[in-house]
């Protein structure tokens, strides 16, 4: 990745505040320069992307979405299905980050278009290592669409 690039923007859809906090801690522990935007469920995540309402009027377009599966209002599966139908957002990779180890959830997440499925380690050190691997893959190894050149 070029060093000239803007900070990466991560949209995290997670209903558990403690887990959201842990993601923030893990990003900073791994020195991942990313702007973490947090919403509490799938419906807010969709509103965020569509910039609906005053809360999200200036929301930056995310480079990557981290998605919990089990959330109120709109869960991760419904969100994933919805975003992959939207031409404007389907190119944003979505990585599932969940406590669910159910095989059906793994298969259906990939089937719906997830670009990875990470089970949240209970151990904090392991959690930080998981976010390190995630950051190395998405922000150092692979190319992502350049959002500077994307829609406004």
């Amino acid at each position: 990745m070029t060093t000239e690039r803007h900070r990466f923007v991560i949209l995290l859809a997670e209903d558990e505040p403690a887990d959201a906090h842990l993601v923030q801690v893990a990003l900073s522990e791994n020195h991942i320069l990313a702007d973490l935007q947090h919403v509490a469920d799938g419906r807010d995540a969709l509103e965020y992307l569509r910039r609906e309402g005053p809360r999200f009027a200036d929301a930056p377009r995310p480079d990557l979405i981290l998605l919990d599966l089990n959330m109120p209002r709109m869960d991760g599966r419904q969100f994933l299905a919805a975003i992959k139908l939207e031409q404007n957002f389907k190119d944003i990779p979505v990585v599932v980050l969940t406590t669910s180890e159910v095989e059906r959830d793994i298969v259906s997440s990939y089937h719906l278009g997830a670009a990875g499925y990470i089970t949240k380690p209970v151990d904090v050190v392991q959690f930080i290592a998981a976010i390190r691997d995630l950051g190395e893959y998405w922000f150092e190894l692979v190319r992502l669409p350049d959002n500077q050149k994307a829609r406004p």
């Binding site: 992959k84 031409q87 389907k90 190119d91 944003i92 990779p93 990585v95 180890e101 095989e103 793994i106 298969v107 990939y110 089937h111 278009g113 997830a114 670009a115 990875g116 499925y117 990470i118 089970t119 998981a130 691997d133 995630l134 190395e136 893959y137 998405w138 150092e140 190894l141 692979v142 190319r143 992502l144 669409p145 350049d146 050149k149």
Partner: protein, 150 residues
């Protein structure tokens, strides 16, 4: 990784340049993950492999991950990617684009068609090996893949 999954991962490399395919196989072997590497040299062979059509592909394993070159003869890599992602039985297999093309239009088009990563190939072999190791760390060391989706 869970204990119940097979002890190694199957990868399908779709690449029409034999030399590039050999390099990829070598890099994957050097990554240290327990892998079985399969190779298809064009879109037709890849689809036959994945759909187990024809005698040579009878009983071939379903890959855990597909590495796809974009520039191929016949159907382009982008078209093949779209075909795979429209196939109900194949769409759950993650496809990472590995290519020499660094064109922004290709990057965006690949993600729009459902790529789970876009790796611009380095011409330097050591850098290439290091990149494939990182790729392995994510897909085989970190994320959960379906165990037996077939």
């Amino acid at each position: 990784m869970s204990e119940s999954r097979a002890s190694f991962f199957n990868i399908l490399v779709i690449e029409d340049e034999p030399g590039e395919a050999r390099l990829m196989r070598l890099a994957l072997q050097k990554s240290g993950f327990p892998l079985e590497v399969h190779h298809a040299s064009d879109d037709r062979e890849a689809l036959c492999f994945l759909r187990r059509e024809g005698a040579p592909f009878d009983g071939v394993p379903r890959p855990d991950l597909i590495l796809l070159d974009l520039k191929m003869t016949g159907q382009s890599g982008l078209e093949l990617l779209a075909t795979l992602k429209l196939d109900e039985r194949l769409r759950a297999i993650p496809v990472v684009v590995v290519t020499a093309s660094g064109l922004e239009a290709d990057v965006r088009a690949a993600y729009q068609r459902g790529a789970a990563g876009y790796l611009a190939k380095s011409a330097d072999f050591n850098e290439f090996i290091a990149a494939v190791c990182k790729l392995g760390q994510y897909w085989f060391g970190r994320v959960r893949l379906p165990e037996n989706p077939a």
